[in-house]
Symmetry: C2
Subunit: 252 residues, 2 copies
DNA sequence: CGTACGGTTGACGAGTGTCAAGGGTAGTGG
DNA sequence: CCACTACCCTTGACACTCGTCAACCGTACG
């Protein structure tokens, strides 16, 4: 229940041309499906956009914006309700693709509504593609669509894992699972073997992600520290953690 | 918490050849992407399989089985843990596609593990395709893969809606939302305008789907009846319901 | 008519949420 | 350089929703 929209941080962010050749996610994003010739074509369509923490890329209910790749940073995909409840339904890391939540191919008619708000959690860099241009490229280069299918299938997996967490796990298990997921993510991002890493979210966002309150999250983290399962410096930096024990606490 | 596996109802079911021409989901399943010539090719690959309520198509952890379309009936996609907790992460209705939970294209190596158990909830009829044959067809007929992407994207939407339900809604809201979803589903299946319909799940399965216990589900349904928002005959048949009020109760 | 199974209801307790106060830390301005 | 502020996190006390355990009811089926 963490619904305060800082009024000073509204939708926006700076914009500049993109350079695919030097892109950090050229080989891990959808773009990995393209040859360098094909990539040149995409490059003509694309622009870069930077967002500061708390800035919002789209609001739920607004007309759909362009597609985008996350190039740097972390964003959250959220649904809020008027009484202040909020749920994070997905985290977006570098190489994740944005903009297909409501499906493809709304060609002629006006654009559909975004079902979720997308908000920068850290300093965020996006690579943006206009919808029709990108959809045209997908038709010409089926490998692009194939990779999008792959990605969507694994996001579906993640969402379903989270349904198990939200539906059946205890507070302790949720927090343990969350930390394991972050450690895993960090390992894939090439951090130092995952033994030491930063949590990408504050307590409030963690709470909104795992379906608890700030206070409960805080208490559970304290518990894990007391049990010696994790060790932290400050509120966000995990210095060490006993993965074996975490897995036991996580409810598989 | 509804984990009893009836030992008399194990994996299995009868098998017979398929006839696409007379298929109930020819125009609503993935197959709608195919011309009748193309469909002939698919027909050569496919077989029908029938399952009785409670019979299991795959166990989580088992090697992946073939792809399949649901032709008739309802199945549930579940994850259970040893201590008896269970979560339904998806319901499968006619024209839904089965078998891509762990992604595509595991060609050479041995098949991947199914992450979820698939179990028949009512009398179930499946149309089964061998994995490699179907994947070959997908490569030849991109429209097939395109439709699969569409379907996967909307399943992702549903899963995320459910994350909001499981993470942030009260018991009352969950039950109201569930009934609305069922009514909606039934309307799409062409039932009598949705004013009167059967719940496809028993109390236990509803509980496992919306992250509550049998008792809480039962109490909440009783509440809705007392408030005059729904009216039922027996435990499963909804005679009438006030959609406006239900939507108000559902937490949007 | 008896049994089995699923659903309902009640009493009680545990686990989280809520509300409120206090502590840390980083950033700002004097 | 230090005080002040703001924000986030932590901790405690208490309330409340939902889970647990148990008994009972109704319907289907042998």
């Amino acid at each position: 229940m963490n619904n305060d929209l800082n009024p000073s941080l509204v939708t926006g962010g700076s914009c500049e041309p993109a350079v695919c050749a030097t892109c950090a996610v050229r080989n891990s994003s959808l773009c990995a499906a393209l040859s360098s010739d094909e990539l040149d074509e995409l490059n003509k369509l694309s622009r870069r956009k930077s967002l500061r923490p708390g800035q919002i890329y789209v609001f739920e209910g607004d007309q759909a914006l362009d597609f985008a790749n996350v190039v740097k940073g972390v964003a959250k995909l959220t649904r809020g309700s008027e009484d202040g409840r909020m749920q994070i339904v997905g985290l977006l890391f570098p190489s994740d693709f944005i903009g297909v939540s409501m499906g493809l191919g709304h060609g002629g008619d006006r654009k559909p509504e975004e079902p979720y708000t997308i908000e920068a959690v850290s300093d965020l860099e996006l690579c943006i593609f206009p919808r029709d241009g990108f959809e045209r490229l997908m038709r010409r280069f089926p490998a692009l669509e194939h990779k999008l299918l792959d990605r969507t299938l694994s996001e579906l997996q993640v969402a379903r894992e989270w349904m198990v967490l939200l539906g059946r796990k205890t507070a302790q298990e949720r927090v343990a699972t969350f930390i394991l997921h972050v450690a895993d993510k960090m390992r894939h991002q090439g951090c130092h073997s995952g033994i030491s890493f930063d949590l990408p979210l504050g307590r409030g966002d963690i709470a909104d992600h795992i379906g608890l309150t700030i206070e409960t999250v805080s208490r559970q983290i304290t518990q894990l520290k007391r049990k010696g399962i994790i060790d932290m410096q400050g509120a966000r930096h995990v210095v060490s953690c006993d993965f074996e024990a975490l897995r036991e606490q996580s409810g598989y």
